[in-house]
Amino acid sequence: MADRVERLTNLLALLLETVEPLSLVAIAGRLHGQYPDGQTALRAAFERDKAALREIGVPIEQTIVTGGAEAGQTRYWIDRQRYELTDLELDQDEMRALQVAMAATRPGSASGQEAMWKLGAGLMEHGAAIAAIIPDDPWLPTLREAIAGRTQVRFTYRDIDRLVDPWGLLLRTGFWYLIGFDHERDERRTYRIDRIEAAVQPVPGSTFERPVGFDANEAFPDDPKLIGADPNVPDARVLIDAHRAGVARREFGDDRVVTAHEDGSVEVLVPCANMHAFRSWLLGYGEYAEVLEPTEARDAVISWLKAVAR
């Protein structure tokens, strides 16, 4: 039997060059001797080839014949316009910059390398001196496409099936977030993508409007203590020992420091509407921080410490 790459290349060429959609029988006839003879074996081999071409990204169009002696027959072709990469008209320095960007943020990514080859660049280099590690997630490409195409998506999150208008993606504090409008909850929501539980499914034929001027960067506060922040909940006042006062000043800025004591310790105002995040932050200072008020925050910390101390 011939090398499968030969058959795949011929199939690809045939579907690109045909002036009219082709049935499986016509395809097998044109690729004479390359497909097995029996109907079942032919169908199985063709399905495998079709799946392989689609897997590498070839858009295979299909149509079903209506009316006439061949009604119900499926016919195939490839639209050359859809197949070919549009010329991005990248200048040499722009291409080079994209290549450096890829090496600095996605080194070793097979898909990233494939993308660079398609744009006409060479093999990626390794070991960028200034770099960022960008986490991966299988839903990201689907979500990005849905966002660009304004297609609604369905997925499960916290055990709830949701229908969401995807507005934007944001990588922050090492996690990817989706920001969108949740139709089950009837409000804007933020989801951590690695916590999406079941497959993200674009809803065919759907569409939505994104708010004008939407920017994922401003969609939610970057400090977890501020997520769910409530202007009606007053800030906590926290005493930080001299030993760690400099760190607290750098973290919050001088305008949050309400009192500086002679011994070098400081009192800072810290949002505490999200008690969970507040407690977590406070405990990071170990024995060098003490929450002074409000009483609820103080009590919450005390009961947590008692549970740990046993």
């Binding site: 392989a52 990514s109 097979a110 898909s111 080859w117 093999l123 990588l171």
Partner: protein, 316 residues
Amino acid sequence: MSVERRGPRPAEARLRRLLVMLPWLMERQEVPVADVASRFALTEAEVVKDLELVSMCGLPPFVDELIDLYIDEGVIYVGVPRLFIRPLRLNSIEAFELLAAGRAAMQLPGADAQGPLGRGLLKLARALGEDDTGVLRVDLARPGFTNDVAAAVEAGAEVRMEYWSASRDASTTRVIVPRQLFSDRGEWYVRADDDRSGELRTFRVDRIETMAPTGRTVTPPDTPLPPPGEWFADGSIRRVTLRLAPAARWVAERYPIDDVSPPDADGYVTVRLAVASERWLERTLLRLGPNAEVLDAPELATSVQATADRMLARYR
């Protein structure tokens, strides 16, 4: 996912590579096999095998004429092309890779929105149907000294810094030559030749309290740095095993772990965690409270309890 691979190549992978190789060859028409091999991460034998194969492809009545190509004395010659002049369009994964990489790189110190990367990204985003850059953002918040470290890396400059060490809970003065700066899991790190230990060490940029160049510059050695992200794979770093309640499972997503068990009936998982500093682990356990249990280091559990006691003393 890695570009490296060995063993027989599946037909899909070979075709995929041919579809990027052919347009590139057609544009040049005459290329040494060796150049193609190194550019497309193949052996010369693989290049020759696949190109000879496609040169045999064709459809009646143009059998053998689909791709006009021959190889002679290690050089590939390509005639007038008819098909495969343009590469295949980008698939959704590749599109995402390019945009995310570009947007992330724009957040690295020294990036210029008006420069080639900014311009290239705009063309790319437009071609990929994105009508607004605000829909795909990367935020790599930079602590105070990030730009200074970047400048030192670029210049090979030696710097003196005061660094707060979590493991000692004290500040120390160190002289380092920063060699690599990277962001990982929401934190910035600098890998540097450390004067004090004489070794390549990793420091957290947000723990640098002061920094100034010493005026000396050092030519970096030729030894390549291991890729960032593998800094914790060092076998000499201690491991502990933790049992985590569902409320504490974020630890497995946030910190470097060797492995994680599937959740049991109650949703608890067991993880093996790399512990660069016991002090850090103690703080983390304090934050996790009743949601985490140390399985193989009883002395750690005791010291966490002792810290909780000391903290409680402040509230009495």
